[in-house]
Symmetry: C2
C-alpha cells in the first residue's frame, strides 16, 4: 500500500490493461469465482447481517499507490464484500421483486461490456441500434402488443435503464406536447395521475419534470376493487381538476403493483383518459413478463389505447439489471422532447433519416449495448422455456398459498395474481377479560378493531424481522388499506420447490416463537 | 425455429437457467471469445462499414420458440454482430472520446452483474452502498478535491450512469432549492448558463427539468480565449437576465470540452456565480481523469467554490460504460429534490439515519453495483499506473501533434491540452489567376477569406470521410469558430505508439489523394 505523495516514484509499470492473454487468465478466474458463488449462495444468510459502517472499518482510507494482484482482490471480495451483500440470487430470496439473473443474461452483459461501445447514435455502432429495434419488436410480438407499438407500425421500442427513466421520458414527451399547445407558462397547471398504489417512480418523475408537487394525484383505491384504480375515481378526480382550472396531462396505470401486484383496468382507464387528451403510460414493470403466457395476456387488454408501455426485463425476465423495455406509439413525441443535435455528432446516417438514434429516446446520451443480453435471453431459452420458467414460479407461489390456507393462524390478505403471495399472521385472540370490554358498546368495539389491526401489524412486523434476521429466507412487507402484510415473491432463478417448502417451515417456526411471547 | 402459435407444445425443457456448472462452461467459452476479440480487434475496420437496415435482413422476424445453443449464438455474434460494431476498443480508434475498457473494469462489471443486486438503499445490499461511498472518497482524494466534497466533510460522491444524469440531478436540486425560496410559480423565470462549447447534456437536462427553452444561455466563446467561457461574458449575460426579471439558477462550467478540450476558468466563474446564488456544476467528463496527475491538477483549481463536480470514469479511466462519478457539497439538496420513501422500502437502517440511501441521489430507484468496477480499477492498477497510463496517452497525442507540425500542409487548430489533437488540412493555394482577384480590394479579399474557410471545411470533411471509410483508423470532427477540424483523441486502451504512427500515415496518404483532386 503506497502513498499518494510518492509522486517521484511512479516507476510501477504493468502491461497493457487490456492485454488479451491476461484478460483470458483473469477472466477464467472470475468465471470460476462466480460459478462457485452460485453453487454456494444458498448457504449464505440471504439478507446481509452487517451493521452500518462495517466496510469502512475494513478498507484503507486511500486508494493503493501500487497495483494489487487479482488473487488478493478476489480474496477480499469473498471476505469483505460477500458478507455485506444481500443475496438477490439466493434461492431463498423472496423479497421486493426478483432480480432474476441467468446465464444468458450474464453472457449478454459480458458481450456488451466486452465490446464497450457507446451507442448513442446509429453510426457509433450500427449493430447496437439495430439489434435493439429488432429484439424490441420480437418481445413486443411475444406480448401481442398492437402493431402500433412496433417499428413496423410506426411505433417502436427502446431499452431504458429503469422504469423511473421510462416514465420520466414519456412524461417529458407528454408535457412538451401539451405545453406546445397551451403555452410554456402553463407548466404549473399540469396534473399527473396515478393511484395510491402506483410506484413512487411516478412521483419522482413528476418532481424531476417540474410538475407542481400540488398537482400530483395519488387516487385512493380500496380493497373492494382489489386496490386497482377505478375509472370512476379517476374521472371524478380529473373533473375536479378541470373545475379548478388545471390541465390533466398524464396517467400511469399499473399492471402488477409493487405492494400487492394489483392490476389497474387498462381498457376502461384509457377510455376515460382519451376524453381529456391524457397520455397513458402502462407500467407493467413486474407483471408484464408474465403476459408472454396466453393465460396472463388478458391483464394488459386495452393496451392498444395506451400511449406507452414498459416492463422490466431485469425483474422477472432473466435479464440482469438494468433493462427496462419501453414501447411508444409516437416516437416523435419522445424525440421532440429529448433530442439535441450538436455538430460533433453529425453524420451521414443521421442526416439521411434512415436510422434510429436512440440518444433521442432517453435521458442520457451515452448508452450501453443492452439489447445483447435480451437477445441472448430470448435465443438461449426460446419462448417455450421462458413461459415454462415463469409458470414454474407461479406454481411455486400457488403452493405457498396452499400452505398458508392450511394453517388457520394465517390469512391471505389479497388474492394472488402472479407469483407473489401477500399474507399475514393473525393475532391470537385476546384474553377473555379483555373480550368482555369489547362487548361493552359499539364505540369501544370499533376502537378495539383499530387496536386489533395495530396489534396485527406489530405482530407481523416482528415476525418478518425475526425471519429476516435468521438469514434463512428474505421477505419484505407492504401496507395496503392499513394492513401490514408480508410479501412472498417467488422469482429468484435458483429457487426450487424445496426452497419454498423450507421458507414455509421457517415462517411457521418463527410464528411459533413470536406467538409464544406476544 | 418454432412458432409463437404452438402453445400446446411447450414441452421444451432445459435445466435451471442459472445452473452453476453450465454457467462455468458457457462463461469460460465467452471469456475465450472476448480474449480472441481483443487479440484480433485491430484487424477489423474501426468504423463499421454496414448500411442502415443490414441486420434486419439477417435476423428472423420473431424470437425463436425453442432454445438455441450458445455455440450457434456465438457464431452469429461473430458473423452478424461484429461487422455492425464500430470498434471503440480498437487501438486504431481515435474518435469522439475514448471508451477505455480494461481487464479490471471488465472483471468488476462481471462481479456486479454476477451478484446482480438492486442497491437502491443500504439495506438492499450494504456492501454496494458502502463500497461506493468509500471509492468515491478514494477518487476524490486522488483528485485532491476539497474535503467539502467528501463524506468526511459532509459532502459526498455517487456513481451515476452518465453526465446527463449527473447534470439533471444537480439541476433539479438547484431548481427546487431556488423554487422553495421564490415560489413554484416562478419556474419559467429560471435561467441556466453554459457556453456555446458546453456539452449538449446541459441543454437536455434543462429541457427535462422544465426550464423554459428561452432561458437556456449558451454564452459565446472566442478563439482569443481558447473557447473558454469568460467571467465577463457570463456576468454581462446574467445582468441582462436580471434586468429582464429572470432568475439566474445554474451554471455548468466545463473542464475539457467535447469539441476542443477547452477549459473554462473554474475559479473566476465561481466568483461571478456566487454573487447571484447560482449553483455551479463542473463537468470534467473527459479531462477530470487527468487531474489525478499533479501536472494537470491546476485545471480544476477553484473547484472548492463549485457546488458539484463530475467526471466519467468510463471515458478515460479504464472503467467500462457506464460510470459517471459525481461529488456534491450538499447531498441534502439532492435528497430533498429526489427522495421518495414508500412504505414498501421502509427499513430499520433507513429509519436510523445512519446510512446513505443512494436512490435519493439519482433519477432511478434501481441501481447496479457500479462501485465494484471502480474499486477493481483503482486496486488492480494503483494510482501510479493510472497516472502512467494517462501520461502515455498524452505523450502519444504530443507525438501526433509533432508529426502535424512537421507537415506544412496541415495546421493545429487549437492548442492541445490533454490527449486530443485538433487539426486540419489546409486547402491548397488557389491558382494564380484567382490570387490576382484577391488583391483587387478589401471587400473581395474578405469574401474570399470566407470562401477559403468554406473550401477548407469541405476539404477536411472529405478527408475525414475518406479516412473513416478506409476502416484503418476512426476519427471524428467538430466545428469551432466556424472551422471544421478533425479530432484525434488518444485513449483507447490498446493503442500503442505504432498505432499513432500508422494513423498519421493514413492521414497523409488520404490527404495526398484528396489534394490531388481538390
Amino acid at each position: 500500500m503506497g502513498s499518494l505523495h510518492a509522486d517521484n516514484l511512479e516507476n510501477s509499470c504493468i502491461e497493457n490493461p487490456l492485454d488479451p492473454e491476461e484478460f483470458r487468465r483473469q477472466g477464467h478466474m472470475m468465471i470460476d469465482f462466480l460459478a462457485d458463488y452460485y453453487r454456494d449462495v444458498e448457504k449464505y444468510p440471504v439478507r446481509s447481517q452487517v451493521e452500518p459502517g462495517y466496510l469502512r472499518k475494513l478498507l484503507p482510507e486511500s486508494a493503493p499507490y501500487n497495483p494489487e494482484p487479482i488473487e488478493t482482490i478476489l480474496q477480499d471480495v469473498q471476505t469483505q464484500i460477500v458478507p455485506g451483500i444481500t443475496h438477490w440470487q439466493s434461492p431463498n430470496y423472496f423479497a421486493y421483486f426478483p432480480s432474476s439473473g441467468s446465464i444468458a443474461g450474464f453472457l449478454g452483459e459480458m458481450l456488451s461490456t466486452g465490446f464497450n461501445v457507446v451507442g448513442f447514435n446509429w453510426m457509433s455502432s450500427p449493430a447496437a441500434t439495430e439489434l435493439e429495434s429488432i429484439v424490441m419488436d420480437w418481445l413486443g410480438k411475444m406480448l401481442k402488443l398492437p402493431k402500433s407499438f412496433l417499428f413496423s407500425g410506426n411505433g417502436g421500442g427502446v431499452l431504458q435503464g429503469t422504469t423511473c427513466e421510462a416514465i420520466l421520458c414519456t412524461l417529458t414527451a407528454a408535457r412538451d406536447r401539451m405545453l406546445n399547445k397551451i403555452g410554456r407558462e402553463n407548466i404549473c397547471k399540469l396534473v399527473v395521475y396515478g393511484s395510491d398504489q402506483t410506484h413512487c417512480a411516478l412521483q419522482k418523475a413528476a418532481q424531476i419534470a417540474g410538475i407542481h408537487p400540488k398537482n400530483f394525484r395519488a387516487v385512493p383505491t380500496t380493497k373492494t376493487n382489489s386496490f386497482g384504480l377505478t375509472p370512476d375515481a379517476l374521472r371524478s378526480t380529473i373533473l375536479a381538476d378541470i373545475e379548478a382550472g388545471l390541465v390533466p396531462l398524464f396517467l400511469c396505470a399499473t399492471v402488477g403493483t409493487t405492494s400487492s401486484t394489483a392490476v389497474d383496468p387498462i381498457g376502461p382507464l384509457c377510455e376515460v383518459a382519451k376524453d381529456y387528451w391524457i397520455w397513458v403510460h402502462v407500467d407493467a414493470a413486474y407483471a408484464g413478463s408474465a403476459c408472454i403466457c396466453p393465460e396472463f395476456r388478458h391483464f394488459i387488454d386495452g393496451v392498444e389505447n395506451a400511449d406507452s408501455f414498459s416492463l422490466n426485463a431485469h425483474k422477472w425476465f432473466f435479464t440482469t439489471l438494468d433493462c427496462c423495455c419501453l414501447w411508444v406509439k409516437e416516437p416523435s413525441a419522445l424525440v421532440k422532447a429529448l433530442s439535441t443535435n450538436p455538430e460533433y455528432l453529425r453524420n451521414k446516417a443521421t442526416d439521411s433519416k434512415q436510422v434510429v438514434d436512440y440518444k433521442d429516446w432517453q435521458i442520457a446520451l451515452s448508452r450501453r449495448f443492452r439489447s445483447m443480453k435480451l437477445w441472448l435471453v430470448l435465443r438461449s431459452y426460446g419462448v417455450a422455456n421462458l413461459r415454462n420458467f415463469l409458470r414454474s414460479h407461479v406454481k411455486m407461489a400457488k403452493n405457498f398459498e396452499g400452505f398458508i390456507a392450511q394453517d388457520k393462524r394465517f390469512e391471505i390478505v389479497v388474492p394472488r395474481t402472479f407469483a407473489m403471495v401477500c399474507f399475514r399472521l393473525l393475532p391470537p385472540s385476546p384474553p377473555l377479560s379483555i373480550m368482555k370490554v369489547y362487548q361493552n358498546g359499539n364505540g369501544v368495539h370499533h376502537s378495539n378493531h383499530l387496536q386489533d389491526e395495530t396489534r396485527a401489524n406489530e405482530l407481523n412486523h416482528r415476525l418478518l424481522e425475526s425471519i429476516n434476521a435468521s438469514g434463512s429466507a428474505y421477505m419484505t412487507h407492504a401496507m395496503v388499506g392499513g394492513v401490514y402484510m408480508i410479501r412472498f415473491a417467488v422469482g429468484a432463478t435458483l429457487t426450487e420447490e424445496r426452497h419454498v417448502v423450507l421458507a414455509w417451515k421457517v415462517v411457521q417456526e418463527h410464528a411459533d416463537t413470536i406467538l409464544a411471547t406476544f
